[in-house]
């Protein structure tokens, strides 16, 4: 399992994807490995204490049988001490494993955050519901698996060996029974592993689907009411939930079944030993060359027997957790993989000068697609307004994100240029206003100065002015200090868009990329947004992807995307 550990660099979809996922899952444990090792040691210690404890109990019983009160008292005292020690060791082992688990989940969350909210280009196309699910739940799935299994790796063989050694020392024929049963168990483990493989992926898919359906349903609640579709959507939700339940039940049924088979084997083995011990104690059977059994030895063997199987049982039940973790790791990996390393801030174009853009043989292809989404060759002169039109899904937004440096082109080069320098796009160098403005759960002021945390009050006021937000802020109960919520709660869509404009203006970039800035707006709000954009982009280069004729008509140059190809739609009006 650990042999593939260094195999991290091999690409996805390569031959033997599963072992690859295995290796990745194993590698996830790295932040907690130290704690898991310690925890494993303590678990072994717990086993040793427990063996001693049973010894003490058997000794006490022997004392009672022999009417030796002193033995009995000492035995009880030893029993109390070892019990307490076992509890203590178990407690420490649990705490350490938990700590390791937390280290693992935090490490995964850090990686996921880096991929979902990167400082360089974003590769992943994961939606909000999936992102939240991966960060909150899947990271825990992986961490829980490691917290449970990683300590076992050290403690399981040691514990089993200790039990076997004690049994052999006390009465070797019993140890032989244990060893013989062990031969039966790999078969069972294999069965458990086979059982576990099925259904876990279905469960994962059902969970992903349910997450998406739930988020969608709550976001579109008003529309559902308007359409009288609340009941129908409720049924969709119920169906999705039932599908998840069904998938979960099928996974659980397999887990329980393999657990039961394991139970039968273990019980059988213990029963064989118990019968043998009982009959020997009754002097009905005697194995040649075996030491004579006493109550002490017989009871001890019987009591430690189940301990021999406990780690195996834990391993078997971990198969299902493992499958779950493997699937979770797969999803996380899809998000995390290929994330470009965080880049140090490059020099940004001087904000005093408008920035032009040149696209040289730029092509872009989505991962897994068989054709280029974009094929563009164009220049955008500094200080001009360019509109890009084209049918939906023709790649306007993709093109803008390439220009912004949010995505990296598959071929060709995107360059920003001023009269002095020519450089690759850097995040933070341009202003972007998109069709879906999202306001963070923070005050209006904090939302506006996100791009420039050290902005003075005066600068903020100026930005508010330029975006035409004075009336809006005057209306809010606490002015600039009003808290806004998810999706711009408390302000209308158009007002949220203008807050985004103020935010971008405060940042002071001289290149503006507008992705359908007037989508989802009524005509009044559209006018207000356009007015605000006119004011703030004075002297800047503006590239706007739009369907709005009001916007396109106002541009210096109109380009069209058709079949992924960017071409000139004719000079509309020179400024």
């Amino acid at each position: 399992m650990t042999t593939h550990e260094t195999d991290e660099t091999s690409g996805p979809g390569a031959v033997g994807e599963r072992p690859d996922h295995d290796a990745w899952l194993t590698a996830c444990a790295a932040p907690g490995r130290h704690w898991f090792g310690l925890s494993g040691t303590l678990r072994t210690l717990e086993t040793l204490f427990t063996i001693t404890r049973w010894g003490a109990l058997a000794w006490t019983a022997q004392g009672a049988l022999d009417r030796a009160t002193a033995h009995e008292t000492w035995g009880l005292a030893a029993f109390a001490v070892t019990s307490a020690s076992a509890v203590g060791a178990g407690w420490a082992a649990g705490t350490l494993a938990e700590r390791g688990g937390r280290a693992v989940s935090t490490g995964l969350r850090r990686q996921l955050t880096g991929a979902l909210l990167p400082t360089a280009g974003r590769i992943t196309e994961a939606g909000p519901a999936e992102a939240a699910w991966a960060v909150v739940d899947l990271a825990d799935d992986v961490a829980d698996f490691h917290a449970q299994v990683a300590p076992l790796r050290r403690s399981a063989p040691l514990s089993m060996l200790a039990v076997l050694a004690v049994t052999a020392a006390v009465h070797w024929p019993a140890a032989i029974v244990l060893v013989l049963t062990t031969a039966l168990l790999p078969l069972n483990m294999r069965l458990a592993g086979l059982f576990a493989q099925h259904g876990a992926d279905r469960q994962l898919a059902a969970t992903r689907h349910l997450n998406a359906v739930v988020l969608d349903s709550f976001r579109g609640m008003r529309t559902l009411r308007e359409l009288g579709a609340v009941g129908r959507r409720g049924r969709t939700l119920t169906t999705a939930a039932e599908r998840l339940n069904k998938a979960t039940t099928s996974v659980l049924r397999r887990a329980f079944l393999s657990g039961m088979i394991m139970d039968v084997v273990i019980t059988f083995s213990i029963a064989v030993n118990a019968t043998y011990i009982g009959l020997s104690l009754l002097n009905y059977v005697h194995v040649p060359h075996a030491p004579r059994l006493t109550l002490f030895t017989g009871l001890l063997v019987l009591l430690v027997c189940p301990m021999y199987f406990a780690p195996m049982r834990a391993r078997a039940s971990a198969f299902h957790q493992r499958e779950r973790a493997l699937n979770a790791a797969g999803t996380i990996r899809d998000i995390v993989e290929d994330t470009p390393a965080a880049v140090a801030r490059a020099a940004r174009p001087q904000p005093t000068e408008a920035v032009g853009v040149s696209l040289t043989q730029v092509r872009f292809r989505y991962g897994g697609a068989d054709h280029d989404t974009i094929h563009a060759d164009a220049d955008f002169a500094p200080g001009t307004w360019t509109a890009i039109t084209g049918a939906s899904g023709s790649g306007k937004s993709t093109l803008l994100s390439l220009i912004a440096g949010l995505r990296l082109p598959s071929a060709g080069a995107v360059r920003w240029q001023t009269s002095l320098v020519r450089l690759a796009p850097t995040l933070g160098g341009c202003a972007w206003v998109g069709q879906q403005t999202v306001l963070l759960d923070a005050t209006v002021r904090d939302n506006i100065r996100l791009g420039r945390p050290d902005a003075t009050e005066q600068q903020i006021r100026k930005a508010v002015d330029a975006a035409g937000l004075n009336a809006v802020i005057g209306r809010l109960p606490e002015g600039l200090n009003t808290r806004l919520g998810e999706g711009g709660w408390g302000v209308s869509t158009g007002e949220a868009r203008r807050i985004a404009i103020a935010r971008a203006f405060l940042r002071g970039a001289r290149l503006w990329l507008l992705d359908e800035p007037t989508a989802h707006l009524d005509a009044d709000s559209e006018r207000e947004v356009i007015e605000a954009l006119r004011r703030v982009t004075d002297g800047c280069t503006v590239i706007v992807a739009t369907h709005s004729f009001t916007l396109a008509a106002a541009a210096d140059l109109v380009l069209a995307i058709d079949g992924g190809l960017l071409h000139d739609a004719g000079l509309v009006n020179a400024r």
Binding site: T60, A61, A64, L65, F79, S83, V87, W91, T106, L116, T119, R122, P128, A131, A132, V135, V136, D137, A212, V214, L215, D216, F218, R219, M221, R222, L224, L227, G228, R232, R233, N245, L252, L257, G259, D263, T267, G278, L302, S392, S401, G428, A431, G434, V438, L440, L450, G451, P453, P477, T482, A500, A504, A509, T518, A519, D522, A523, D524, H547
Partner: protein, 531 residues
Amino acid sequence: MSGSRCPNVRSRRARSLATTGLVLAVVAELSSVGLLGLSGWFVSACAVAGASTFSSFSYIAPSGEVRAFAMARIAGNYSKRLVLHAAALRRVATARSDLFDRAAATDRTQSEGLWSGDLLDRSMADADSAGMALIESTAPVAVTAALTVGGALAVAASTAIAPAAVLAAGAVVMAVIAHRRPGAAREAEQNTRKALRAELVTAVDAWTEMASLGAAEQLAARTTARFTRLDRAREAADRRRYRTTLITGLTGAATLTATTATGAGGAPDAAMLVFVALMSLGVLTQAEQLANAAEARATATAAHRRLTTNGPHTASATTVPGIRSWSTEQGIGFADYLLPPMALRPGRVLGATVARGTMLVVTGRSGSGKSTLLRALASSLRQAAEGRDGRPAVVAVAADDYLFTGTLGSNWRLADAALNDDEIDERLAELRLSDSGLTAKTSVGPGGRQLSGGELRRVYLGRALARHPHVLIVDEPTTGLDDRTARHVLGILTNLPDTTVVIALHDVPACLKSSGHVTRLPLDHTSQEAR
């Protein structure tokens, strides 16, 4: 509504399933402890019998009992798990759909303030903890209670009252410790988890804008801060939990020793001593589960509270201005609507009537109050009139309606479930949406992101038309459309024979001026020229 009996039956079935599961759990654990005690006694009894020269010890009967207990334990464990999980999963699903129903039933203005990220967390995690409490809390408590009683009785019957009393007292003390422990730590952890999920739901959508602003680091820092907080809250909660486990564990060890010691005094022989020790061991091991059970109970209670209370209230609950409206066979009308005064216009009282099948066009400059009037009219008509002949009274189309992830067809079918793909394609063609290649099978992307503004507007409109309402209210139906398409869309709206249409526009376009079916209501001028 038609299934008002159905949920009752279902909940009764769920309850009997849960009860069965609990009974099975008790049976399984009783056999497990019985097996432990009995086999210990059996081996010891063999030793006692083997040591004495003359004994009438029968080997057959106890070994049969041991076998029976072992079988019961294996079968009981398997079926208990199956039944309890089925019951718990059913509870989770019920909690989820209840939450949705409750959110759907909340007051309109309030639901605007319900946060989707917050609700997502409730729907996934809270519903889970509330349902799984059956396995993690109810079952261990029931089993511990049954075992304590059963174990104490068995100990008392085989030896004396004293060890039984010690055992019972120990179990009670452990229960008290476990019960007292769970505190605010676990709830704090859940709140931080919710905050993380809500932040992510927002941040992932906000990234494009933020990253361009160079604020990606800040955005990531916000998320990092939230998961660090989660990590810390979890650490605190875990430390607390493990402390409780340690204390109950030590109490258990002490009780076990005490029970065995008192039992040793009263036990007639070594076999009974072993029986008492193992019996109480079984009971106390089970009682150690109480710490986790109490924790799960606290979690579930908090989750349940969140599931049944409403979301955070909106700070800007817009109050709808007063209006009087009516809807009859002949059409609709409204009166007593107070248009607030503005800089270029004094306030006045508005009213109008619109005949069935005709159109009212409300015009006015930005901020003249068109949208407010339309909202007020929609909500007032909705209260005034019930839908007739299976048609809804009012459907209003807002500029920021929602498209659900899936195909255009599935979105259309939300309005009218009977439509098939061909019929939807027809309607798409009617709205000239098929020109840009949209079909019923086109996927709209999360939140309709694959479509342009003008397309979205027409999809919203078409979806609303599929409801076939008595009154259709549309705010700015032509935004984002070129003149030709705008004329076409307005043409569709004027030709709805039995739907009364109310729209808001910046200006009355030429194509509507000539139409006889159109009533105009300008908000900019002093005089009311409803002709």
